[in-house]
Amino acid sequence: MYQLTDVTKLYAKGRHTVPAVRNLTLQIEDGQWLAVQGRTGHGKSTLLNLLGGLDRPTSGTIEFDGKNLGQLREDQVTRLRAKSIGFIFQTFNLVPTLSAAENVEAALIPLRVGAAERHRRVAAALDSVALGDRSRHLPGEMSGGQQQRVAIARALVKEPTVLLADEPTGNLDEDTRDEIIGLLEKLWRERGLTLVLVTHDSAIAQRAQRVGVMSKGQLSLRDDARQPADSMPD
């Protein structure tokens, strides 16, 4: 799925250049769940942006299904993102004026799916996160957990192969956190998704197959990774 080779990402901050990611080499297999931990400002979100094609590396290569993201044109990366990569954000990032269904529908707009098919897929996606009855509600009319479930439906409605989640439970209480992580785990398992999840929460990280810790732009992988079957319920 992903092959990162000697990836470095530098940011200019005033007169100084700050390395957000340094000489990172990493392979992520299809259907793998990688949890990334680390302190704030150590490059977790930058790594996620690089994997999602939202940013380009300063040096090194990021291959996605054999394609070098750094060499693709902007429109090609955009198309790839529209089709294959789903995002979940800590702050949900729903469009406040659109209903739950319309927020989910927004993910299908770049794919030029017909209206009837869009509505069918949106309904199915909301059903899969148990929000079929809240489709007409605006984000402001829903709880944080419900909003994040809408965001998950939005990420999955296009049936991506990769799901990139940036602290998806960071703004949620403990019960809701468990509910959302349980949902993500279920969907990951059912759909064979490749899931990269950035989290501060070790309890959540422990549920992933592989856990990496970002520190000063470098990723250290731990060797206690589980196989997908390990997390299957009895």
Binding site: N49, L54, V95, E102, K158
Partner: protein, 480 residues
Amino acid sequence: MFFITYLRRELRRRMRQAIFIGLGLALGIGLVVTVTAASAGVKKAQSDVLKSLYGVGTDVTVTGKAPRLALPGAAPAKGGGGQTFQIGPGGAQLCSNGKCHNAAGQTVDHLNSTSYGPISQAEVAAVARLKDVKAAAGGLALSDTSVTIPKNFGQRGGPVPTPNQFTVQGVDTSHLSLGPLSSGTVTSGRSLTSADANSNVAVLDSGYARSHKLKAGSTVKIVGHSFTVVGIVTQPQTGTPPQVYIPLARAQAIGRAAGNKRLKNEVNTIYVTARSAADIPTVQAEIKHLLPKDTVTTAASLASEVTGSLSSTAKLANVLGRWLSILVLIAAFAVASLLTMAAVARRVREFGTLKALGWRSSRIVAQVMGESLTVGILGGAAGVGLGFAGAAIITAVAPKLSATIASSAGQGFTAVAGGPGRVFSPTSTHSVAVPMSASVTAAAIVAAVVLAVVGGLLAGSFGSWRIARLRPADALARVA
């Protein structure tokens, strides 16, 4: 459709801001429409004024070179046999051919063309033959002036004679579509016809007929000749059109040029129609070449001679109104652009998220442009409404405008005394009162729509420029 749903919801969310932007644009566009309407109204008023002077269908007017007014005490022209009026030690005297007699109690009546010199009918024919001329007709603009000399005139404390005057227009009955009569509407009786060429018949201006209680069938006296009134006409303006229209041949027979010369086969005005509007400058040049001493006037050149409040209003509408509109529009566009940019700045996270979802920048730009365009068009529609209201207010409250045109009709009367001479030149200028009527034209509405679209696009383009430059990672990092 998702585009419309998103646009509608976003505008509803930013309702107050959208209304503010829309009202700003409406104000600017409304001002443009009002000023354009006022300008169109002023132009129409100018056109009506010129039409009343020119006659419908007249593109170029040629007038004979103005003769020099007789100086006080000067002898009448040789062979003219004209009368002079003198005040000497023996009292008021009327002199003709060197013989003088007491003028007290007598009436002096003249039908003269003193402001315009004569043009021969052969010259009218020559003008008609010019390549780019469609038709040409001669006319005689005359003034009938009569004065009854008081018995004790000239004595210390004696009364001053008051001239009684009306204007007479000799009309070429074979070219009735040209000249001042052509612009009149017959309200009673009939107009002149070609059969009237040598008849003592007259058509009266409605204002003159009303003030003198004349109607079709009445008789008017012109230098002692009786003319039967066959019709009454109303001119489009309430200014000073000719008051009596008679056949040209009759005007030539009874009228006199300066120095009391006869006007047989002579006119003092030629009314010309060009083959097309584009030919008018050529026709003007051709006539100037053919008749170098005479004055050749087009509607455009005559318009530049119009003075009075009509002219001032035209300048006000054209200069001040235009610049005021431009300034308000610039302000409205600037405010709309700044507010749109501010709105885009507040939606950076939203646009970053959409980019992360795979939306192309062009799609997001189209969304923002659509929102701006909608506000612009709604503002434009409100602006057209404001423009109509402004035009209605101007029409309702604006006073009548006056237009003054110097020496256009060419009548005068000269009185010469033994002492310092006095010149009566009552109609050396024409003053016309014109109602100010501002009307919104289709062109103004089209201009409003264009401005609304431009305003919307301009406001949207600043925001769109920012969106196009927005890197999704940066947009998301700002809120992370």
